[in-house]
């Protein structure tokens, strides 16, 4: 008797929604990056669950690619955060508006 697939799917959906709420409610760029990581993890859980459901290891390979992309994203994002605090003296994403009209 194994656990139904829906358990994993709903957990993944709730984790994704928590990350979305973090992005929508926080304005510090570090919290935004952490929430994005949370959403990446929720997607990974979904991929692994479906890989097991369809008996296809391709889903797990995709997770390896997602981890790589997340590492690249967080590297550039943190470099931007350092640059922001150095040049704008703030980490509030709303105050970095020099590219907006």
């Amino acid at each position: 008797m194994t656990l139904p697939l829906q358990h994993y799917l709903v957990l993944s959906g709730v984790l994704f929604a928590i990350g979305l709420a973090g992005i929508l409610t926080r304005r510090n760029i570090l919290f935004l990056l952490l929430s994005i990581e949370l959403m990446f993890n929720a997607a990974n859980l979904l991929f692994v669950a479906y890989a097991r459901m369809w008996h296809d290891l391709g889903g797990q390979v995709i997770v390896l690619f997602i981890i790589t992309v997340a590492a690249a994203e967080v590297t550039v994002g943190l470099a931007i955060a350092i640059l922001m605090s150095r040049q704008l003296r703030t980490l509030n994403a709303d105050e970095a508006r020099s590219l907006k009209w």
């Binding site: 957990l11 709730v14 990974n44 790589t68």
Partner: protein, 165 residues
């Protein structure tokens, strides 16, 4: 039965830690809560037979990405960051939108599914040999393309962090 209890335990820990990530005041607590979430997800991957993914989750996410976060937090001046929350009047709108989104997702996921899942004995285990074979045959092109992505990320990070000359 043991699997069900273990799942609910680990899932509750993951959800609690995820809420801590979003709601904690200080970024260091947020990073450490995300660490707990990632370990819980690694346990879930292990329960689903994705052994390589679980190991890489701990090695790359917990070991590399979050340590990078902690390093950057030490580089930055933490005193100025406490105003991380948006104004009160808009915070609940974001929470409402995320809640509606979660409801939609749950409704989508709770549909009855094909019974493929139940035959767990024939599900392939994500071992190093199996994943490596797939990675170097079917997924060879995306695997090679990630090297370009990593190169671009390295150059971008170095260029940004070095500053303007």
């Amino acid at each position: 039965m043991a699997e069900t209890i273990g799942f609910y335990l680990v899932a509750a820990m993951a959800l609690g830690a995820a809420l801590m990530v979003v709601m904690s005041r200080h970024p260091v607590y947020s990073v450490l809560s995300l660490l707990v979430t990632m370990f819980c997800l690694a346990v879930l991957f292990m329960m689903m037979g994705a052994y390589v993914v679980a190991a890489l989750q701990i090695l790359l996410y917990a070991g590399a990405v979050l340590v990078l976060f902690l390093f950057v937090l030490m580089l930055l001046n933490l005193n100025q960051e406490h105003a991380g929350r948006s104004s009160r009047s808009w915070g609940w709108v974001g929470t409402l939108i995320a809640g509606l989104f979660a409801g939609q997702l749950a409704q989508l996921f709770l549909r009855p599914l094909s019974p493929l899942w139940t035959s767990s004995s024939s599900a392939p285990a994500g071992t190093v040999a199996e994943l490596g074979r797939l990675l170097f045959t079917t997924y060879l092109l995306p695997f090679e393309l990630t090297s370009f992505l990593m190169l671009a990320a390295i150059i971008g990070a170095v260029t940004l962090a070095r500053g303007r000359r």
